[in-house]
């Protein structure tokens, strides 16, 4: 899950990097028209029939006003695969309202349909039902094989031409996914291209070695072909059930005194498990704190937490949770426990946004909210926190962002907050309250909006008693329940132009 080898957790560093990458992507997309760039090489004609442009129109939400919608559209690349499928990244495909496809960088647009999408893996497949679309298109080959002479190219359609930029391979490195915290191998290459990250293929000779999912300065970060093909193959065979991951914390075993304490003699090796949270699937945790992991699936683990990958060289052990393995699969581990070696089988839990106390994303779902009498309640999610802008980790209220570091518990799997109060005579005296995490309403614990709705159905002696989590801010509110409340809700809906007093995600509606 995480290596803890100094005071900056890996996950934190990587999330920071991701934020930067997104920013670069957004900023440079607008910069394309004026920036001075090196001359563009023309790509070999053979690629022109294998790369298409995908245009995605999608909803954008304002979490300050969760009942409002805006729209935006962007373009990215797609790769023609066999069986009338187009491969692209899942990024920017969420909350979509229309997908269109274009061949040859110009001309007619065709309606596309997303047939499969996996946000955690950041991959999607798109198709077009119109047979004419597929005429003259040629499927590509995805292969991890790297050319000895390091002559990579990054390709994309631009202004009707297939742009071809030389790229120089840097390294394979394990990092968290663009849209998840699951770590897997990525390819880094230096390239003069600007505003990449829209699924541009990185090609070598006649095959595709990766697709770009982010860019930081000159460095393109790409998803390697083998990661993609393994998933597509498993999906084809019905064996892919989503990404799995290691649900424990470990630290390097570089300190011989620590190994001596754990009675491991000989050369220092392995990594030390330091924290084993409850599994999100409720399964048994086979690891214990102070176990030393010596081997995973036959690969020796060194004291930094790396193993020697036959395809990519030195990689962090996290990659062994996604190396042709998926949620529910087993990883064989050789560990050292209480002075003895032990073989164990670790079943990979399925990664899911909803298993975090503060979900990292809520894709393809309109923002949830519930409003009574001007009091707006929302789930605490990263999407909500991101309304504080690009620097949201600094600008959002500290206590709210700190919840991201906390683990969910059985009696607190998620959080609901009073996000704001829309002023109305009903809520006078509370208008300036905001960002308060709800603990109980009318004596009932509130973890999700449906809990809140159920609690509001049971006022106490004609009052709603809202208690907030003990912190340095307001802890309690009391409001009138009944007709006065309903009148106020109607009044606020009308005055603030809100169509509905609530919106819940469909699965929670049940």
């Amino acid at each position: 899950m995480i290596s803890v080898n100094n005071s900056i957790p890996t996950r934190w560093r990587n999330r920071t990097l991701h934020l930067l990458l997104v920013w670069v992507l957004v900023f440079e997309a607008g910069f394309l028209a004026t920036a001075a760039e090196p001359p563009v090489q023309k790509a070999p004609a053979s690629w022109e029939s294998s790369i298409v442009t995908i245009e995605v129109a999608r909803k954008r939400y304002d979490y300050y006003q969760p009942w409002t919608r805006r729209t935006s559209q962007m373009q990215k690349s797609g790769l023609v695969l066999a069986d009338h499928q187009i491969l692209t990244t899942a990024d920017e495909m969420f909350d979509r309202t229309l997908v269109r496809l274009q061949k040859n960088g110009r001309g007619r647009w065709w309606i596309g349909e997303v047939t499969w999408i996996d946000y955690h893996a950041n991959l999607a497949l798109v198709t077009c039902v119109d047979a004419d679309f597929w005429r003259d298109l040629k499927p590509v080959t995805l292969k991890g094989e790297m050319p000895a002479e390091n002559n990579l190219q990054v390709l994309r359609w631009r202004n009707g031409n297939l742009e071809n930029r030389h790229a120089e391979f840097n390294q394979f490195i394990v990092r968290e996914g663009q849209l998840s915290t699951v770590s897997h191998v990525t390819l880094e290459a230096d390239c003069e291209i600007q505003g990449a990250g829209g699924s541009e293929p990185v090609v070598a000779n006649s095959h595709v070695v990766s697709i770009v999912n982010a860019q930081a300065d000159r460095t393109c970060i790409a998803i390697p072909a083998s990661f993609i093909t393994d998933i597509l193959e498993a999906k084809k065979n019905g064996k892919y059930h989503g990404l799995g991951y290691f649900h424990f914390y470990w630290q390097p075993a570089a300190n011989p005194a620590s190994l001596a304490r754990l009675k491991l003699s000989g050369e220092p090796r392995g990594v030390i498990v330091i924290q084993v949270p409850d599994r999100p699937d409720g399964g048994e945790q086979v690891l214990k704190p102070q176990d030393i992991i010596l081997q995973i699936d036959g690969f020796d683990i060194d004291i930094q937490g790396d193993y020697e990958d036959p395809e990519y060289g030195h990689l962090m052990l996290e990659n062994l949770s996604t190396r042709a393995k998926w949620a529910g699969d087993e990883a064989k581990m050789k560990i050292w426990r209480e002075g003895k070696p032990l073989d164990i089988t670790y079943r990979l839990p399925k990664y899911d946004y909803s298993t975090s106390l503060v979900p990292m994303a809520t894709y393809d779902q309109d923002p949830e909210y519930l409003m009574i009498g001007g009091l707006v309640f929302q789930p605490l999610t990263d999407s909500y926190l991101q309304s504080w802008g690009p620097d949201w980790k600094r600008r959002a209220p500290f206590r709210l962002t700190y919840y991201r570091t906390e683990s969910p518990e059985k009696d607190r799997p998620s959080l609901v907050l009073l996000s704001q109060v829309l002023p109305d005579p009903y809520n006078i005296g509370y208008q300036e309250q905001r960002c308060l995490v709800v603990d109980k309403v009318n004596g009932q614990r509130v973890n999700r909006l449906p809990d809140l709705r159920a609690a509001l159905d049971k006022p106490v002696n004609g009052f709603h008693i809202i208690e907030f989590v003990q912190s340095d801010s307001l802890r309690k509110m009391v409001l009138i329940a009944g007709d006065t409340e309903h009148e106020a809700t109607s009044r606020v809906l009308k005055r603030y132009g809100i169509n509905e007093p609530l919106h819940f995600a469909p699965e929670r509606e049940k």
Partner: protein, 483 residues
């Protein structure tokens, strides 16, 4: 007519200067050579810095100034009006919570021909005041004139976590003015003390009620500080909440929403009690009292009492009025969340590992990127845990501040800026626990566990015992501890 008008204006100006001539003789320049400790290397000190401030003579052959003018002073020099001679001063009393200090000057000649300034009353809003002092930009005394803009409770920046009565003025208050008197009708109506960066025409001074409180406090030869009732009072303006509490729907009464773990307060007051009157002051439903014609937070009514005095309070509880008497005391439970002075930082060095209490001063050494550095653990521990989880809060959270490189700790991956959870199985509640955990263990290795993920490091005790003295010598540390 024009000539006559000019003469009158000049005369008025002349009169003004004549009246101002007397107070300025009692205003002194203060030069402090200060040296602050380095909070993440607590045995070391920063370079000596020369700081300039102001002060004024008060009764009893004392000089009053701001606490921040003389804090961490190695030497304090005072200079009289138009007199180049330096006189050495000493701090007699200092109140860091109210940012006030009184100094004494041993050389009796200093007070010759000096008249102590008299303390006035709290000035009225819109009335004119003149600040006297020695601000940066010159060596001579400076005067600035302005009006009182508003009077309310403000955070006192010197300590950082106390709000006391303060007066805002549009008279220019610049660095160096600190400690100087604010005069109205020849009487001191304030001590200039802070501004707000980026905000023009807004300076702040400490008003007479705070100054008088400080002077009364030290009458017994000891400064106790302003009492803190430990109440978080919130407005009670929503009719529903008032009806819920069976309280008349009028403009009186503010609700107690939270109480700090202060036994004397918890014994007398409860959450959801409504404050109707504190001392002689009725409490409005927005949590304010009317004090000398100014609407200010009801917290002032408690602060006007001296430490350990009882404040009569009228409350609304269980649908009726009740009279209670609340003893109020200085509160130290949050001292680490404010800036600290006078006492040098505590630390313990073991095997090159430097342990020190978590504090706002320590956090300041991390710079602006602190939130990235510690993932928020420090801020949560310092500011939130005591509110949210009293059971797990530690009286003095300890950090591994740094690791002084040595062969004995060469393989320790954690190099500092990390919260300590346990050492050799002992939960670390305060610095003394660190010392005890290391000094009482009999294991071959020391086990140090960190927060938040229970990462740990081990040290070979035998090797540490051999290396300790050498590490202290190498890094110029006179003692392995300051407890």
């Amino acid at each position: 007519v024009l000539q006559k008008s000019l003469v009158i204006l000049l005369a008025v100006a002349w009169l003004g200067i004549c009246r101002a001539a007397d107070p300025e003789r009692s205003v002194v320049q203060i030069i402090t050579f200060e040296q602050q400790p380095i909070w993440d290397a607590p045995w070391r000190f920063d370079a000596v810095r020369r700081m300039g401030g102001s002060g004024f003579v008060i009764k009893g052959k004392r000089v009053m100034t701001n606490a921040h003018v003389v804090s961490w002073g190695r030497q304090i020099i005072v200079r009289k009006y138009q007199d180049p001679r330096p006189y050495v001063a000493e701090v007699e009393y200092v109140g860091h919570d109210c940012d006030l200090a009184v100094l004494t000057v041993e050389d009796g000649r200093f007070f010759e021909n000096l008249q102590p300034l008299e303390l006035g009353e709290l000035p009225k809003v819109r009335s004119a005041v003149v600040t006297y002092g020695y601000p940066a930009g010159g060596e001579e005394i400076s005067y600035t004139r302005g009006v009182v803009s508003r009077i309310e409770l403000e955070t006192y920046a010197h300590i950082g976590n106390r709000r006391l009565l303060s007066v805002q003025t549009d008279a220019a208050i610049n660095p160096g003015n600190s400690g100087g008197p604010v005069i109205q009708d020849d009487r001191v109506v304030g001590v200039a003390f802070q501004g707000i960066p980026g905000l023009e025409n807004a300076g702040f001074f400490i008003p007479p009620p705070i100054i008088q409180h400080f002077l009364k406090d030290i009458e017994d030869g000891h400064y106790d500080g302003f009492p803190h009732a430990g109440l978080r009072v919130t407005e009670l303006q929503n009719p529903a909440y008032r009806a819920f509490l069976k309280l008349p729907d009028d403009s009186v009464g503010a609700r107690i929403d939270g109480i700090l773990p202060i036994a004397s307060t918890e014994k007398v007051l409860k959450v959801d009690d409504v404050l109707l009157r504190v001392g002689p002051y009725p409490v409005a439903n927005d949590g304010t009292i009317l004090y000398e014609g100014n609407r200010v937070s009801a917290a002032l009514a408690f602060q006007l009492a001296q430490n350990s005095e009882c404040v009569p309070v009228q409350i609304w509880r269980d649908g009726q009025r009740q009279e209670v008497s609340l003893p109020v005391y200085r509160y130290d439970g949050d001292h680490a969340a404010g800036y600290q002075y006078d006492l040098l930082p505590r630390y313990f060095v073991y095997g090159g590992l430097v342990f020190t209490p978590l504090s706002l001063d320590y956090m300041r050494t991390l710079g602006r990127g602190a939130r990235e550095t510690d993932s928020g653990e420090f801020s949560y521990e310092l500011y939130f845990r005591r509110y949210e989880s009293v059971a797990t809060a530690r009286p003095e959270p300890i950090v591994l501040a740094s690791v002084l490189a040595d062969t004995v700790n060469a393989n320790v991956s954690v190099r500092g800026r990390t919260l300590v959870d346990r050492i050799n199985g002992i939960r670390i509640e305060k610095l003394e626990d660190v010392v005890r955990a290391f000094e009482t263990s009999t294991n071959a290795q020391d086990l140090i566990e960190f927060l938040p993920h229970q990462g740990f490091e081990c040290l070979d005790r035998g090797e540490v015992a051999k290396a300790n003295a050498g590490i202290l010598k190498t890094y110029g540390i006179a003692s392995d501890r300051r407890l």
